[in-house]
């Protein structure tokens, strides 16, 4: 069993419907692959730096779990196939950082996050360029941005 950190980007529509179910969507999938969940928590809900699958905002679920290394391929595949999971990043770690363990364990079953803003409905109508302008108003280089986005980082990441 190795220790891993897994970050999962969840569709806000799923989170808004039922956060607990959205969280279980990830933790149950991990358990299905034999993972022992150390902790899992809502890390953040934020505006994305660029639209992902038509979404401008999404919720980050940060997990730590132990699993045999051979299970990682299956976990990735399941996460990538699930359209409710917009992104996943699995990293092998030596140990769970003390602060993360504390924060992760503090999120109990009765935790209810503040509802994300209901802006997803207009995602597809938003022009791409407008969506990429950051909130501070400074305009970044926009040409060719979308083409550079990889389909999966995990294909080229060492675990």
């Amino acid at each position: 069993m190795n220790q891993y950190e897994g970050m999962f980007l969840l569709d806000n529509q799923v989170v808004r419907a039922d956060y607990k179910a959205a969280k279980a969507l990830v933790t149950d999938m991990l358990k299905k692959h034999g993972a022992e969940i150390t902790c899992a928590r809502r890390w953040d809900e934020r505006r994305l730096a660029y639209p992902i699958q038509g979404r401008l905002r999404a919720t980050y679920l940060l997990t730590y779990f132990k699993v045999p290394g051979s299970a990682i391929v299956g976990i990735r595949r399941d996460a990538e196939l699930d359209e409710r999971i917009l992104r996943n990043l699995l990293i092998s770690v030596e140990e769970v950082p003390a602060k993360e363990l504390e924060l992760g364990l503090a999120e109990g079953d009765d935790y209810a996050p503040p509802p994300p803003p209901a802006d997803d409905a207009i995602d597809r109508e938003e022009p791409l360029v407008g969506a990429l302008v950051p909130e501070d108003g400074e305009s970044p280089e926009l040409e060719g941005v979308a083409e550079d986005v990889p389909a999966s980082l995990n294909d080229i990441e060492e675990v």
Partner: protein, 77 residues
């Protein structure tokens, strides 16, 4: 005589006592910290500017790559 080189020492890339090796803060989740080492165009600054050692610069580059993939930092064209 032969191999004498002008003895003007180069300034060290890692200022002594200012930035340690194995910077534990380098992490794709710490966007505010990563932003310190990026240009206003969201490009990673060179090692000369960041004054990190090669290993930390590599970790920095990997963290920025991860943060971009996860939608935490923008890609640049």
């Amino acid at each position: 005589m032969g191999m004498k080189i002008a003895a003007k020492p180069r300034a060290p890339l890692v200022p002594v006592g200012r930035k340690r090796c194995d910077d534990p803060r380098i992490d794709y989740k710490d966007i505010a910290y990563l932003a310190k080492f990026m240009t206003p165009q969201a490009q990673l600054q060179s090692r000369r500017r960041t004054s990190f050692c090669a290993q930390c610069q590599r970790q920095l580059k990997q963290s920025v790559k991860r943060a971009r993939f996860m939608g935490l930092l923008p890609f640049v064209g």
